[in-house]
Subunit: 226 residues, 2 copies
């Protein structure tokens, strides 16, 4: 069933990782895949542009159906393979609402992370300001406190929308893992630290762990004091 | 059924408008609502903070269920009221994939619009650069050409994901309407112009048209040359 799927992806990209986790959770192993290099600008290669006019990864194809946006691919896979693997959107109104709510807050979380760790990449040299980076770091700290509080309220061993694993975890865990890869302190954020430790042992996540993180387990310390 | 729903919203906010359109499409008229003023900072009032820690609009409650992120609320309403009003997510894999794909590209579209029309609002005075605003305008123009092409390919009278109205229109139409409110030229972008003209006559959209736009039909000309 997964033989007619193709994923073009880059290592360590949270959007790519979301789709990989979703594929694992839905038991869709065996799909065609190709690891491309952002450094070599392979996301702008003809192979990508043929299915993704934006020249971005992930680029995902299922038969003739193209669905490149990572959240779109996650919703598509859950909907089209509802009875395969793990159910990722709960039915109960309260659990479902919280799953959706955290998924979409997750986009803000991801944006605030990027605005700190990739500040120099996003902002050309002549336009950088210490005041802006400082504000971005403060905004990320505020965001982190929100998520720390969400997990605190749900109690030990929780996932992002409750006791169950859901699309909220599929989409937001890669952001959390990136935070720790960039030096976030589990002492400062104990609930996020516990969540990270729990989820990184999950089979779907282990199976899709960014290969360049495995090859070089030492990350950066950009976020150690945040 | 809608009597146990409450929407706190602001006029002209695309995220609020998305939820209003979804409620209309699902025949959930009669919900409680309160129009708040961004200018008076009412989105930071206790009434909002009680259900939305981020102090943002929309803030939406259904019984005890809180779901504030606009995309989350749209998914929630479609899922919980699947058989009410209009079906907003098609079942066919290709149509569903395109609906999801355009919905999530819509977030990029909205972001690129905001980076131009609210540049001075987002960037403090000492950090503004003509080069950045120029780049943002070019990025918006590139984005506009993509959407113009999508509509061109689907043919006259199309909606964003095909001949049918879907969650892609619910979530992206408010961005398109804001573009024209800020002076976008239908001569430069004829397919977007036609789409805008078609959709603004739709009952759900007429019923939720931003009241301050109706009171003062003249918008701005920020985007007239883009």
């Amino acid at each position: 069933m997964a033989q007619d799927m193709t994923l073009l992806w880059g290592s360590g990209s949270p959007p790519c990782w979301r789709v990989q986790i979703a594929l694992e959770e839905k038991n869709l192993q065996g799909y065609n895949q190709k690891l491309l290099s952002f450094e070599k600008m392979e996301h702008k290669s003809q192979e990508v542009l043929d299915i993704n006019a934006r020249g971005q990864l992930p680029s995902f194809k299922h038969g003739d159906v193209i669905v490149n946006e990572s959240y779109a691919a996650c919703f598509y896979l859950e909907s089209q393979f509802k009875s395969e693997g793990n159910k990722l959107i709960p039915d109960s109104p309260a659990e479902q609402a919280l799953t959706y709510q955290r998924m979409f807050e997750g986009l803000t979380f991801y944006e605030k992370l990027n605005a700190v760790i990739y500040y120099d990449w996003f902002v050309p040299e002549g336009e950088r300001h210490d005041s802006a980076l400082k504000r971005n770091r403060e905004a990320l700290a505020t965001e982190l406190k929100l998520w720390e509080g969400y997990l605190q309220k749900l109690g030990p061993g929780s996932h992002l929308a409750g006791p169950f694993f859901s699309l909220a975890d599929v989409t937001v865990f890669p952001t959390v893992a990136t935070l720790f890869r960039f030096g976030l302190s589990a002492e400062h954020y104990p609930n996020l630290g516990e969540y990270y430790a729990l989820l990184k042992e999950r089979p779907s996540i282990k199976a899709s762990w960014p290969p360049h993180w495995s090859e070089n387990p030492k990350g950066q310390d950009t976020l150690k004091d945040i």
